[in-house]
Symmetry: C2
Subunit: 145 residues, 2 copies
């Protein structure tokens, strides 16, 4: 068989696996707070800028609104955010942090550090991570039309 159809030669499989495993590594740090990883991502977006319409959150995470809407509804019923109709544009749903959602920022402040140290190894060090970031950023830029 051709080498290019071998699993070990696939970039996508590596990304897919690394992504899943790293997300799994977040699990014990988030589940205690009742959070999933995508919900944690939404919180990070809102911690940077509160009161965002659904569309802006989706764009920031490069997700479709039909993924984000149910995610936000779950977060609303968990008391992490509120969703209310936009004043100027009645089509928009403005998402805002609740005190509970805001309060998690402090409680989760140690998470990135813990995860960071979980991936440090031979080829991935503070020196080489910028290279990795650049490559992933370029791939992402190339793939989002």
């Amino acid at each position: 068989m051709q080498d290019n159809l071998k699993l070990d030669n696939q970039l996508c499989f590596r990304l897919y696996t690394a992504s899943r495993l790293l997300t799994q590594a977040y699990h014990p740090l988030l589940s205690g707070h009742g959070l999933t990883y995508p919900q944690y991502l939404v919180l990070m977006v809102l911690w940077e800028k509160d009161a965002m319409p659904v569309n802006d959150i989706a764009k920031r995470l490069l997700l479709e609104t039909n993924t984000v809407t149910p995610l936000l509804k779950r977060m609303e019923s968990d008391g992490l955010v509120t969703r209310s109709k936009g004043r100027d544009d009645a089509r928009q749903m403005i998402v805002r942090l609740t005190p509970k959602g805001l309060g998690l920022q402090e409680k989760l402040s140690c998470v990135p550090e813990k995860l960071g140290s979980a991936v440090i190894c031979d080829s991935v060090t503070p020196d080489t991570i910028p290279t990795l970031f650049k490559m992933l950023d370029d791939i992402i830029l190339k793939l989002k039309r």
Copy 2:
């Protein structure tokens, strides 16, 4: 706020996004053959070595059997594989390619090349891809206990 809680500083978010976008890029190349990306991964595993028990396929893909089992059942009902009880070990389900599943190998032989060219850019070139592979492999190795 601390920089380490910013989305743009997260490795996991990059991997998660790059993985999703690259998987999406596979979609138009696979959907015509009735395949999803995880199903394509299973085919790659079986093209390398046919007649594998569920467990070996799951291990190769670093997935849990409770993910792979329903995936294989769908592939069975799509006529891509057969599943039959192991002769020596009655607990095992041996998965085998059908002629249809085997035949897809040729039809999909151009997929890796197309996807490869889809990610080539400034920082990701035939020269630098080995570096990227090494970093992702090390991360994966570190994270799978």
